[in-house]
């Protein structure tokens, strides 16, 4: 091999020529990096955009205003305002009559069609109104009723007038009725009072998230009550009390493993242990909260340990120095100082638990439950599961309601995370 000796001038030229290439390579990498971040942020924005544009209309729906004659004899035949008596009354006939007086249907068939314009929750609505305010009896008052979801979709323009009648979910006669109502200015587009105060329902126009929301709160409270004390106690024990030996090592490995176990497995464990062996009922927030607590425990333990570790030894030494016992040091000094960090971890863990779906599916929180749960022992469902269930329904209006529920869920998650960030910023201490 003969060595090539490059003379200095050539070398300079080679370097000079290559430098442009190298620089452009450099800026290319930078560009790629920017594009990658831009893509990720675009995904995020697109996700939010698509959910908000779908979900915003979900908070609103179309109502029809009808003049209702509150005839006590007919609405409340027994006259005692009891559920039974109101159920016996024929409030829905009154509503239908009022509707007929406006749209004037001819014959049985048209009447049958016209009846379906107003959502089937009309009698419940009247019952609730007279219960809240019995002085309505004997008056003729204008009342707003939700329209059926097909009519709603028509008014929103999802069902087109131009589509041939046979392919439409509503026929020409009904469209005629709607036009009539519209001419009289009886149809209005307003903030839906069902979405926030209603419960699960097969009728999309009446479905709401209140039941799921309360269920979420109950489940999360159980989760918090179990996971927070246990997590903090474990963290304190591992960081401050336990000697480093085999047992603590096993505990640590276990905690890390638990953090890596897929959430659906926790659901399986809940099903096999709590429901199958202990015989607890399905779909109750208590079991859901317990499963979620076990799931969030690692998050809380890990962040609490980090918070305890961040407390400088000088604080402990000072406390020992004035004669405090070990527990006094821990409870009077270390825990109060580590509290912000522990709380931050707990809030983040709770946010995870709030958004979790899969384990709750396993323990049967997918049941169709209309009643709003009153205690942790009543069957209930939670927001994410409600979203999952609604996403399966075919009606167009459910898509909007689902997106609306997602907006509520995301709102809570974002505010919880913001709270965690705020706490960390505000209470963080630099030593």
């Amino acid at each position: 091999m003969n060595k090539k000796i490059i003379n200095p001038e050539d070398a300079t030229n080679i370097v000079k020529n290559s430098i442009l290439k190298r620089r452009s390579k450099d800026s290319r990498l930078k560009l790629f990096g920017r594009v990658a971040i831009g893509l990720a942020v675009c995904f995020l924005l697109f996700l939010f955009y698509s959910i908000f544009t779908k979900g915003y209309p979900g908070f609103f729906q179309y109502y029809v205003t009808l003049d209702i004659n509150f005839d006590r004899e007919r609405i409340d035949p027994k006259g005692d305002l009891s559920d039974n008596s109101l159920f016996d009354g024929d409030a829905s006939t009154i509503v239908n009559e009022s509707l007929f007086s406006v749209v004037e249907p001819k014959g049985r068939k048209e009447k049958k069609l016209a009846k379906k314009i107003v959502s089937s929750g009309k009698d419940v609505r009247i019952a609730k109104m007279v219960k809240d305010d019995p002085s309505l009896f004997g008056t003729v008052t204008q009342v707003k009723f939700a329209l059926d979801d097909d009519i709603d979709s028509f008014l929103r323009g999802y069902i087109k007038r131009e589509t041939p009648e046979s392919e439409r979910r509503i026929n020409d006669k009904v469209i005629g009725f709607i036009d009539k109502l519209n001419e009289e200015g009886r149809i209005s587009y307003e903030f839906s009072d069902y979405i926030l105060s209603g419960s699960a329902s097969g009728n999309p126009e009446m479905a709401g998230i209140k039941g799921a929301f309360i269920g979420s709160i109950l489940t999360l409270s159980v989760c918090l009550l179990i996971a927070f004390p246990l997590g903090v106690a474990t963290a304190v024990y591992l960081e401050e009390i336990a000697k480093k030996n085999r047992i603590t090592e096993i505990i640590e490995v276990n905690i890390n493993n638990l953090a890596a176990v897929p959430s659906v497995v926790f659901g399986i464990m809940g099903l096999a242990i709590f429901i199958s062996i202990f015989g607890m009922p399905r779909s109750i927030p208590l079991v859901g909260g317990m499963v979620l607590a076990l799931m969030t425990l690692p998050t809380i333990i890990i962040s609490s340990r980090a918070a305890i570790r961040a407390v400088p030894p000088s604080v402990r030494d000072a406390a020992y120095g004035i004669g405090a016992s070990k527990l006094q040091v821990i409870f009077h000094h270390v825990i109060p100082l580590a509290m912000p960090g522990m709380l931050t971890g707990t809030i983040i863990g709770m946010a995870q638990a709030l958004g979790e779906t899969a384990p709750l599916l396993m323990i049967g929180m997918v049941a169709f439950i209309v009643d709003i749960p009153n205690s942790v022992l009543d069957p209930g469902t939670v927001l994410p599961v409600q979203i999952f269930m609604w996403a399966d329904f075919a009606e167009r209006m459910f898509i909007q309601k689902t997106s609306a529920a997602i907006i509520v869920l995301l709102g809570f998650l974002i505010s919880m995370n913001a709270l965690a960030v705020y706490l960390r910023k505000k209470l963080e201490r630099r030593w």
């Binding site: 474990t234 096993i250 897929p262 497995v265 979790e356």
Partner: protein, 444 residues
């Protein structure tokens, strides 16, 4: 309270001789009175149903027990329903009778529990009260109790793990007693059906098939698609954030990327099923491709978006951990930023980057809601990302949602799937940690 008062009294009597602070005496009394009582209470509440179930057997008429379709659980449920006032049709007289007796037992046992609890609380309270005198070291006693409580709570983590392993392994063993494990691991057809506990001899052999290969393949396919999305984006973002971005940009974009990890998976699932899948379908038909409405592609893409932050955040941390001196050495030799990053920083950070990718894969494998909502349920053995596939997690969900009999092979198969899932994800995690540990010391 009493202890506190007594201690106060003692303080008044001989002020200086008390060993501990007064409130420790109070807490000691409280704890030693409450803890045994709580224990007794729990034992009673858990046991009474079991005891009643045994006792109620006497009230079931003989002809019922001797009849062919006697099943104690069903009878018990009948009685329980009747106790709670849920009556379907007209139950036999003996059920109503048993329910009446059961009700009286419940009242009796409640009274008994209360009495026993009261006795325990009084005796243990009294005993601890007696113990209080000036030499008694109540603080030490309280601390011992509290330490024990703390220690016990740390064992919960172990208990949970044991519970998981116990529940999954136990049921899996029962599954493998019905279905040979080689059929499960290497079979290529997944078609579970309910057919009762006995597979053989029920005349339906061969109807159900539990070959998990299509599920593993589906999981694998979706994870690969997800990685194709998330690895380039995540890694390039990490490089940009740690090497090129100003600290302001970094402070803005890093949390923004992490928002992606905070969005509930059910929201991603909804997004995949209702936005991404129809979009892919319509754009596919424009190109002449037939994309199923539930496709591996849609689920994989959205999952890829979900795991971007796992890769970007972890890789970013690892790249930042590469000592500055290495970069300075690179610049000192006249290399550009690109060359420094590609030839010095990345190789140095490689173990950490690999670990972050492995962790992201294990997250993708364990992810449930996106695949349940967007990937479909058909167990296709295919490598075509445009078709519907199913995954291990989505099968677990479909099998276990709703009511199910615990004896059937179909239900048990979900536990076997969960076992493989745990083994895979934990294995990946261990490997990732191992990679990080093994190569970390090199630069420290």
């Amino acid at each position: 309270m009493l202890g506190y008062n007594r201690a106060k009294g003692l303080v008044n009597l001989n002020q200086k001789n008390l060993h501990s602070l007064t409130h420790y005496y109070g807490i000691f009394c409280l704890l030693s009175a409450l803890l045994p009582t709580l224990g007794v209470f729990f034992i009673f509440t858990i046991c009474d149903d079991l005891v009643f179930a045994e006792l109620v057997k006497e009230y079931i008429p003989n002809e019922v027990i001797n009849s062919k379709d006697y099943n104690f659980t069903i009878v018990l449920a009948q009685i329980n329903n009747s106790v709670e006032g849920l009556v379907f049709g007209t139950p036999p007289q003996w059920v109503t009778n048993a329910a009446e007796i059961w009700k009286s037992w419940v009242i009796k046992s409640n009274i008994l529990t209360m009495i026993v609890c009261a006795i325990t609380i009084l005796t243990s309270g009294f005993l601890s009260y007696k113990k209080i005198h000036s030499e008694f070291r109540s603080r030490n006693a309280v601390e011992k109790i509290v330490m024990t409580i703390l220690g016990v709570s740390s064992v919960i983590a172990i208990l949970t793990t044991i519970a998981i392993i116990f529940s999954v392994v136990f049921e899996s063993i029962r599954f493998f007693a019905l279905i040979p494990y080689d059929e499960f691991l290497f079979g290529t057809v997944w078609n579970p059906q309910f057919e009762g506990a006995e597979r053989a001899g029920s005349g339906q052999e061969g109807l159900s098939q539990y070959g998990a290969i299509p599920l593993f393949a589906g999981t694998f396919l979706i994870s690969i698609i997800a990685l194709c999305v998330s690895v380039p984006i995540g890694l390039l973002s990490a490089i940009y954030l740690s090497e090129y971005a100003s600290s302001k940009e970094r402070a803005f974009f890093k949390p923004l990327l992490e928002v992606l990890a905070g969005i509930p998976t059910v929201v991603y699932g909804f997004f995949a099923a209702l936005t991404v899948a129809p979009f892919l379908r319509s754009s596919g038909s424009m190109l002449g491709l037939d994309i199923a409405s539930e496709s591996a592609l849609a689920a994989g893409l959205v999952m890829g978006i979900m795991i971007i932050p796992f890769i970007s955040s972890l890789s970013d941390d690892v790249i930042n951990a590469v000592p500055q001196s290495l970069r300075d050495a690179g610049y000192g030799l006249g290399s550009t930023k690109n060359e420094t990053v590609m030839k010095i920083v990345l190789p140095a950070a490689l173990p950490g980057v690999v670990a972050s990718i492995i962790l992201a894969v294990s997250r993708a494998v364990g992810e449930t809601m996106i695949v349940v909502m967007a990937a479909g349920l058909a167990a296709n053995l295919t490598a075509n990302p445009l078709e519907a596939v199913t995954t291990v997690t989505s099968q677990i969900v479909t099998i276990l949602v709703g009511d199910q009999e615990f004896e059937s092979a179909k239900t048990l198969s979900a536990f076997a799937l969960a076992l493989t899932l745990i083994i895979i994800t934990l294995g990946m995690n261990f490997y990732a940690l191992h990679v990080v540990k093994k190569y970390r010391e090199q630069y420290e």
